[in-house]
């Protein structure tokens, strides 16, 4: 991890999102006290916890593998954290049955983890975390081992649980849908570096750099490499077969290689001044994802209604919403060059085929 500076508010649901190996799980394990930072401080509730063992940080963690104790029954699994804290027998019985009821685990209390389905195991892992009522919940890709349907169901359950408990939750995932739907804020990481920390809508609408732009959104943002130059006091972005005015750039923009970003929904297929050849049509039912080629090699992905049928090889008209264009500096994590959205008012876009 490199110079990570992250401040999470009390009661917030924060997702750490990024591809495999980006450092999100390491960050979570450092919060838990299972890994140690080489420098810097970790504070929980204003208290520096660097030297505290995991058990004294008042946190609970749900692991990707659930990490249930295989030789213990569901009841003993859930009771274990209470037992380690010296809770009385009556307190343990009372709390375990309350959590079991909340998570509908009561009929399963006498079973061993291997006798449970994936969803049930997941609920036991949650139960073990909930039973202590900790300050912070750390969740390490808890839904990744579930099938798609159950994942959707558990996602809703977790959102509800967070609303009910009001506890701080830090959630690690590589699934942007989970992060977007559940979080108050998302920390997007790449190569051990925090790329952006913002609410889901901001991450989507104003990605801080090229990596975030390409990582968030399905299908992902069209990223077109080209060059920026100034002509008569106006910025122009030029790529293969495309030349547009880029009036929304901030003061830090310089001439040279740059990247244009366009969300698929900002490309209107079937009408407009541009023309493209249909390369690929992916039918998802309610909509079609269409890849079109403009010029020699520029490929753009757009969305169209499910009723709209185009054949591959067909030439169709299209237009782009220039106001929603993003610009990034050169490089895999090239920073955003757009001026803040509210401050921009541009409407000049000219495309030349």
């Amino acid at each position: 991890m490199e110079n990570l500076n992250l401040s999470i508010r009390q009661g917030e649901f924060v997702s750490l999102l990024g591809p495999s190996g980006c450092g999100k799980t390491t960050t979570l394990r450092m919060l838990a006290g299972l890994e140690f930072p080489t420098s810097g401080e970790i504070l929980i509730g204003g208290r520096v916890v660097n030297d505290l063992p995991p058990g004294e940080r008042d946190i609970a963690m749900v692991f990707q593998s659930y990490a249930l104790y295989p030789h213990m029954t569901v009841e003993r699994n859930i009771a274990y954290p209470l037992k380690k804290r010296g809770a009385s027998k009556s307190e343990i019985v009372e709390k375990v049955s309350r959590v079991a009821e909340m998570l509908q685990l009561t009929p399963l209390l006498a079973r061993k983890p291997r006798e449970l389905s994936g969803g049930q195991q997941q609920r036991v892992a949650l139960g073990r975390a909930l039973v202590r009522d900790p300050k912070v919940f750390l969740l390490d890709e808890p839904l990744s081992n579930l099938d798609a349907k159950l994942r959707g169901y558990m996602r809703a359950e977790l959102i509800e649980l967070h609303a009910k408990l009001g506890r701080t939750m830090v959630y690690v995932t590589h699934d942007q849908l989970e992060a977007m739907t559940m979080s108050d804020r998302i920390a997007i990481m790449y190569g051990g570096v925090l790329q952006q920390f913002a609410p889901p809508q901001e991450v989507y609408r104003e990605p801080a750099n090229r990596f975030v732009a390409g990582f968030i959104g399905t299908p992902s943002m069209n990223l077109v490499d080209g060059t920026l130059r100034q002509d008569g006091g106006r910025w122009i972005f030029q790529a293969d077969g495309l030349e547009i005015f880029a009036d929304m750039l901030d003061d830090s923009a310089v001439s040279g290689p740059a990247c244009l970003g366009l969300r698929p929904e900002e490309i209107t297929l079937g009408s407009g001044p541009l023309a493209g050849v249909v390369q690929l049509v992916e039918q998802t039912g309610h909509e079609n994802i269409v890849v079109v080629r403009i010029g020699q090699s520029l490929r753009l992905t757009g969305r169209a209604s499910g009723n709209q049928v185009w054949r591959m090889g067909e030439t169709i008209p299209l237009s782009v919403n220039a106001e929603a264009a993003h610009y990034f500096a050169d490089g895999p994590t090239g920073r955003r060059l757009n001026a803040p959205r509210r401050a921009t008012s541009f409407r000049n876009l000219q495309s030349v085929l």
Binding site: G33, P54, G55, A60, M61, S65, A67, Y69, P81, K84
Partner: protein, 273 residues
């Protein structure tokens, strides 16, 4: 079908060849002295007798050797399993420089023949004042049983997900509590098979016992029985066979009850070791 039948017949032939010496050992131990060298030999004795067992138990030092062997094997097993369990835990879970090198160095003792190690070990034990004691054999046996046990347990330990230990730490357990509450129960099959291997190694060991102890008070069964029943002029076959049967009994009982753990141990060693 035909191929299967041929395979089965071949398998049974091999089993019979392997099992015949054991069968002959039991039969000989039950034959009266007069029938031992009869020609042609009798496969099933005409009369069964337990006289050799009685003689062995009441008229010789057999029980003393047996007790020594039990003490020796149990002590070695406890020491080896105890050290190997903690050692394997540290080799798998703790990150420190030279961890892998250390694991391989542990196996280094296997590259040297026992005869090379036995003299320095003997001299060391003499200087420590431990020569001719059961404890000296415990130390000696530990030197060759520990590396194997360590590697066996290391592969078992590596198969236990680290997450469950982390979960226990987060749940409020100390490192030792996590080890006791979560790791040990998972490691139990590995511990049992390692204990069995160590027990068998100690029970059957001959060379170290021959060199390091030389009094009847401390001799284990292997050297004790040899010393008692085999001399330059005579071999007491009937007693030797009865002793062999009785020496095999503890191992056969252990095998019968813990066979599945032992085969799991072979598997673990095969894959990771």
């Amino acid at each position: 079908m035909m191929r299967r039948t041929v395979f089965n017949i071949c398998a049974w032939i091999v089993i019979l060849i392997v099992a015949f010496p054991l069968f002959w050992m039991v039969v000989t131990s039950l034959k009266p002295q007069s029938e031992l060298f009869s020609r042609p030999p009798t496969f099933l004795p005409a009369t069964l007798t337990l006289e050799h067992y009685a003689k062995l138990l009441w008229e010789t030092n057999f029980l003393s050797y047996f007790r020594n062997s039990i003490i020796l094997s149990v002590m070695t097993t406890v020491v080896v399993v105890g050290v190997a369990t903690l050692g394997a835990f540290s080799l798998v879970r703790f990150k420190f420089r030279g961890r892998e090198t250390l694991a391989f160095l542990v196996l280094f003792t296997y590259l040297l023949p026992s005869v090379v190690l036995i003299l320095p070990l003997y001299l060391m034990l003499v200087r420590l004042g431990l020569s001719n004691t059961i404890f000296s054999l415990v130390i000696a046996y530990t030197t060759f049983a520990l590396p194997y046990a360590l590697w066996l347990l290391r592969s078992f330990m590596a198969g236990i997900p680290e997450d469950i230990e982390s979960a226990a730490l987060v749940d409020g357990a100390s490192r030792m509590e996590a080890f006791r509450d979560v790791i040990l129960p998972q490691l139990l099959p590995g511990i049992i098979s390692t204990a069995l291997f160590t027990f068998i190694l100690s029970w059957n060991e001959y060379l170290y016992a021959l060199v390091l102890v030389n009094s009847d008070d401390t001799r284990p069964l292997t050297t004790g029985v040899m010393n008692m029943l085999i001399s330059s002029f005579n071999i007491e076959w009937s007693l030797l066979m009865a002793a062999s049967v009785m020496m095999s009994v503890p191992l056969i009982i252990a095998f019968a009850f813990l066979q599945s753990y032992l085969t799991r141990g072979f598997g673990a060693g095969g894959v990771k070791g």
